[in-house]
Every structure is written in structure tokens, then in C-alpha cells.
């Protein structure tokens, strides 16, 4: 997915400005650049995590419950005596996938709907946007709770719930940038020559929305991870024996007093990841948005 995003970035830059220029301005955003590198490392960890983790994610030790950080257990052990550090490494992949895949599905649907809505206008636009209004008017957490209640708990259903959460947000944003692009003479001219709608959308409209898409995409990943954690808190998240960070954080909350390390490390992992995605999003926005760039 990360690869796909970079490809998109590249395409985008070829069209509007050279890639080098994007790089140049992105590198100026030192904090975001660092966040980007952090995330790259995180992806590497997520992939090789299971091999470098000192213990298995389910390896229990009933004689060593809730022990604090030590050389044996860098981040201590949890209420089953499992090594928290290893669980964080094993869980990196799961937590990132929850964030990425849910936002990806939400962005995909939202973008399709937003472009259709903005491009065709008229009744199509009003129909789609009314549906989006209904979705937006439904408080998001409520929607997610409902979806989980209907589908049952489990990681996949959490992903679906969070994805549906994101659809109207993307649809709205993409619609407005579609409208902006459509109104440029350039597209109108192409249309009058007689290209098919699909061709116009793919060649002219979609590339124009990509920069907005990327910025919101990175920012929503953070919220997706947080929503998933919130669902765990309400008992509607992933199976708590999976080392998903949100589930780990929420399971450990009863030990805030006597074993704070059980929540501290997963909490820190979530915090840093969400922070990095947000900082990256900020930097990308500054670098991609010509209005803000100097």
C-alpha cells in the first residue's frame, strides 16, 4: 500500500511539477520528513517483527505475571506473563493493517462517489450527497458500534466499521476538488472534443484530486487507529488475545496503578504512530498544496 501511495505521488508530480520539486519542498519539512522515515522503519518492523521478536505473541508464563521492564522483558510482561515488547512487534503489522486497510477502503469508496457526484452533478450529485449527509449525521462512533453489533466483533469487522466511517469524509472532499477541476476550461475543452466520461475522469479529474487524497489519507490513518482502540475500550474491538495495540491498551487499563507498563508501551506505540502519520500528512499538505508552498 505504501508503495502504491508513492507511485501515485510520483504520477502526480510528473503532471503538475517535477518530482524533484516535490522532494525539495518536502525535505524542507524537517519534522514531517523525520515522521516519514519513522513510518518507513515501522513498516520494516511490521514485516520482520515476528522474526526479531524475542518471544512469541501468545507465549505465556503464569509465574511471571505483570512484571516490570527488565533485560529479559524490555517492556515487561502482561497479565498472562506474555512479553509486551514482543507483542508490540507482532502487533505492529496488525495495527497498521487495520489503520491502512480501513482508510483505503473508505477512501476508495469515498473517492469514487465523490468524483461521480462532482463530475455528473444534477440529480446524481444530490442523491449521493444526501446519502453522505445521512452517514455524516449518524455519529461515527454510533455507526461503528452498530456495524460491530450487527457483524459481531473481530478485526475484519472493525476494519469495515472504520471504513464506512471514512466514506462520507472522503466523498465530500473529493467532490469539492472535482468541482474545482471540472470548472477549469481545460476539462471543458476535452469534453467538447468528445472523450468518454471515463477517460476524462481517469486522465484529468482523478489525477487532480490525488494531492488532496494523499493528505487526507495519511491523516485519517491516525484517526482509524484511534477509533479501533476506542472500540476495544467498549469491548467491541479485536479478539483481545490478538496483539493489536488498541486491544492491548484497553486490556491493560485495569493495571494503570500497579503495573502502568502494561498500558504505557502499547499506548506509546499508538501515540507515536498516529503522531507520525499526522505529521507526515501536514508535511505532505504543505509540500503538495501550491497555495501554501513558498
Amino acid at each position: 500500500m505504501a508503495e502504491a501511495a508513492t507511485q501515485k505521488e510520483e504520477q502526480q508530480e510528473k503532471k503538475v511539477t517535477p518530482t524533484q520539486q516535490f522532494w525539495k519542498s518536502f525535505k524542507k519539512q524537517k519534522v514531517s520528513f523525520a515522521a516519514g522515515i519513522f513510518l518507513l522503519l515501522l513498516f520494516v518492523v511490521a514485516i520482520i517483527g515476528p522474526w526479531i521478536a524475542p518471544y512469541g505473541p501468545q507465549e505465556y508464563d503464569y509465574d511471571n505475571l505483570l512484571s516490570g521492564p527488565s533485560w529479559q522483558h524490555l517492556a515487561g510482561t502482561d497479565d498472562f506473563g506474555r512479553d509486551i515488547f514482543s507483542r508490540i512487534l507482532h502487533g505492529a503489522w496488525i495495527s497498521l493493517s487495520v489503520g491502512l486497510s480501513s482508510v483505503f477502503i473508505g477512501a476508495l469508496l469515498g473517492t469514487i462517489l465523490g468524483i461521480i457526484s462532482g463530475y455528473f452533478g444534477k440529480w446524481v450529485d444530490s442523491a449521493i450527497m444526501r446519502v453522505m449527509d445521512v452517514l455524516l449525521a449518524f455519529p461515527g462512533m454510533l455507526l461503528a458500534i452498530g456495524i460491530i453489533a450487527i457483524l459481531g466483533p473481530g478485526l475484519f469487522n472493525v476494519v469495515m466499521a472504520v471504513a464506512i466511517f471514512s466514506v462520507p469524509v472522503f466523498a465530500r472532499i473529493i467532490r469539492s476538488s472535482t468541482l474545482a477541476i471540472k470548472s477549469t476550461l481545460y476539462v471543458e475543452a476535452t469534453q467538447s472534443i468528445g472523450s468518454s466520461h471515463f477517460r476524462v475522469i481517469m486522465k484529468h479529474i482523478f489525477p487532480g484530486t490525488v494531492s488532496t487524497l494523499i493528505v487526507y489519507f495519511t491523516m485519517r490513518i491516525g484517526s482509524a487507529i484511534l477509533i479501533a482502540a476506542g472500540l476495544s475500550f467498549l469491548g467491541l474491538g479485536a479478539d483481545p488475545s490478538t496483539p493489536e495495540w488498541g486491544a492491548m491498551l484497553s486490556n491493560g487499563r485495569d493495571y494503570l496503578n500497579n503495573a502502568p507498563h502494561v498500558t504505557f508501551f502499547p499506548g506509546l506505540a499508538i501515540f507515536l504512530t498516529v503522531l507520525a502519520f499526522n505529521l507526515l500528512g501536514d508535511g505532505l499538505r504543505d509540500a503538495l498544496d501550491p497555495k501554501i508552498r513558498d
Binding site: 449525521a137 449518524f138 454510533l142 491516525g222 484511534l226 498500558t263
Partner: protein, 309 residues
């Protein structure tokens, strides 16, 4: 403006209709039988049948929906299956606490968000900017239940400054509204920053500066007003976020509001309460956004409402 508001409000009615239908289907799609849940673990079949009959749960679904809608038009939201009380009474009781918590959170989120945002934009790329943006981004990066629980530990248990929960005087609002508003404050700060940075580049600001006005005056008088427009829209959308967030915050801080009622009703499959709460939440969201749109026009008289819709 009045005409526009009336039009918008009328436009909400079909929307609410659709929402009520969705809410009804949604509630009945959730697997589970309220009668069995309410009857409890050691209830007999007859007891369960009794409850079903009492609340019309043995009727066909379309019949239940028509009954619900018919009552709704007479201003009757039905009876809670769990407590047997009229749903309207329950909602009225819970609405005040949630609204006041939401407003308190929004108010301080706006105060801090705007301040931080303005400071950042003015001191762009200097350390106050980096620091405040780091703070702002941190605000949206912490799971709210963790933040809330840690604040209880620190400010209630260790320092003894504020009560751990419950609703009451001023001091009971501080921790919950901070927990609930942190994310929104952060979002507002970031929006203010970028929006103000856009505005600061505009011609009239340059003119103002060249006229020799102090930087403070330029910003306070000209820039902020224009920069506020997108911030206001964003804040309106964030109300929805606050309503969602109230579910978690109210649970942690034992706040007697709608969010907690909702989660309890879902667990108990208290259909009439869930349906009415969904409607209420949606209505609240729609009204707030109408208000935001009106405020929009107030901030920028150039916008004519006919276009705005």
C-alpha cells in the same frame, strides 16, 4: 436569511425520515432479543413472552415501524424496554448533561485551538510554531480513554484537585471536558494555522502592513476574520465528533449523559431508546451545521445563502 433557514429546516424533514427508517432497520438488524436480555439469566419462557407482548415485539416488523412512526408524529417516542419509562423523559433527563459537557469542551477547544493556531501562524517555522503544532498533533494522537484514565490518576487520585467523575459544580467539568475537547482543540489549532497562513499572504494584508499598522493590529483586525471562515465550518463538523466522543468520556467519568445511555441501550437492545437517540443525535448534528452555515454568512457577508446550500 429567515427564508433560507426555513428552507433548510424543511429540507431536514425528509432526511430525518430516511434516518428514522435506517435507524429502525439498523436496530433490528443487530442480532439479539431485548426480551431475553431484559428477562435476565434465570427467566422462564413465559416471562420472556410476557415482555415481548408488553412491548409489541411479537408484531411483524413493518407493523412495529408503523406504530413507532405513528406515535412519533404524536410526539410519543415510546417506552423504554429496560426501565418502562417514556423514552422522551429519559432523553430530556440525559440531554442537559451531554449538551453542557459538549459546549464546555467546544468552548475551551476553540479558545486554545485559536490561540495556538494564531501563535503558530504568526511565528511560522520558529520554535513557538513547532512546539504548539507538536502539542496540537499530540492532542489528536492519544486514545481518549487512555488520556481520561491517566488524568483521573494524576489530578484526582494523586493531586486530589478534581473529583473523579459525576456531574456537579465547575470542578466536575474540568477533566471530562478536557478529555473530550483535546482532539478538537488540536484540529482547530491546525486549521487556524493553515488558514491564517493563507490569509496573511493576501493583498489586503500587505496593504495593511504597508500602511504602517502594527503586526498585532493587522492580524487582529483583518486576518483573523477571514481566516475564521474555514475554522468555523470545521468546528461545526467536529460537533459530530464530540457527540461520538461523549460515549467514551461519559463512561470513564460516570457522566449521566446521552452517550452512556446509548451504549447501555445498545447492550440491552432497548430498541425504542436507541432509535430515538439516533434521531436526536442526527437532528442535533443537522441543526448545528445549519447554525454554522448561518454563522458563515455572518462572518463573510459576500456569501449569499442560495448558493450556500
Amino acid at each position: 436569511m429567515l427564508k433560507y433557514s426555513v428552507k433548510r429546516i424543511l429540507g431536514m424533514i425528509p432526511l430525518l425520515f430516511v434516518i428514522s427508517l435506517i435507524a429502525f432497520m439498523f436496530v433490528h438488524l443487530i442480532p439479539g432479543d431485548p426480551a431475553r436480555l431484559i428477562a435476565g439469566t434465570d427467566a422462564t419462557i413465559e416471562e420472556i413472552e410476557n415482555i415481548r407482548e408488553k412491548y409489541g415485539l411479537n408484531q411483524p416488523l413493518y407493523q412495529q415501524y408503523f406504530d413507532y412512526m405513528a406515535n412519533l408524529f404524536q410526539g410519543d417516542l415510546g417506552q423504554s424496554i429496560v426501565t418502562g419509562r417514556p423514552v422522551l423523559d429519559m432523553l430530556v433527563e440525559r440531554f442537559g448533561p451531554t449538551l453542557s459537557l459538549t459546549l464546555a469542551s467546544m468552548a475551551w477547544a476553540l479558545i486554545f485551538g485559536l490561540l495556538i493556531g494564531v501563535i503558530s501562524a504568526v511565528k511560522r517555522n520558529k520554535w513557538p510554531d513547532h512546539l504548539s503544532m507538536f502539542l496540537a498533533v499530540s492532542g489528536v494522537s492519544i486514545p481518549s480513554f487512555w488520556l481520561g484514565l491517566m488524568m483521573i490518576q494524576l489530578f484526582s487520585v494523586q493531586l486530589g484537585w478534581f473529583p473523579t467523575g459525576g456531574i456537579g459544580g465547575f470542578e466536575t467539568y474540568i477533566l471530562p471536558s478536557f478529555t473530550l475537547g483535546a482532539g478538537v482543540a488540536a484540529i482547530i489549532a491546525r486549521f487556524t494555522r493553515s488558514s491564517l497562513m493563507d490569509v496573511l499572504k493576501e493583498d489586503y494584508i500587505r496593504t495593511g502592513r504597508s500602511k504602517g499598522l502594527t503586526e498585532f493590529k493587522v492580524i487582529n483586525r483583518h486576518a483573523v476574520r477571514n481566516a475564521l471562515i474555514p475554522v468555523v465550518t470545521m468546528s461545526g463538523l467536529q460537533f459530530g465528533f464530540l457527540l461520538s466522543g461523549s460515549i467514551i468520556t461519559e463512561t470513564i467519568f460516570s457522566w449521566p449523559g446521552l452517550g452512556r445511555l446509548l451504549i447501555n441501550s445498545i447492550t440491552a437492545r432497548d430498541y425504542p431508546v436507541i432509535q430515538s437517540e439516533i434521531l436526536l443525535f442526527s437532528l442535533e448534528f443537522l441543526l448545528i451545521n445549519l447554525l454554522v452555515d448561518l454563522l458563515y454568512g455572518f462572518l463573510n457577508p459576500k456569501i449569499r445563502y442560495e448558493e450556500g446550500s
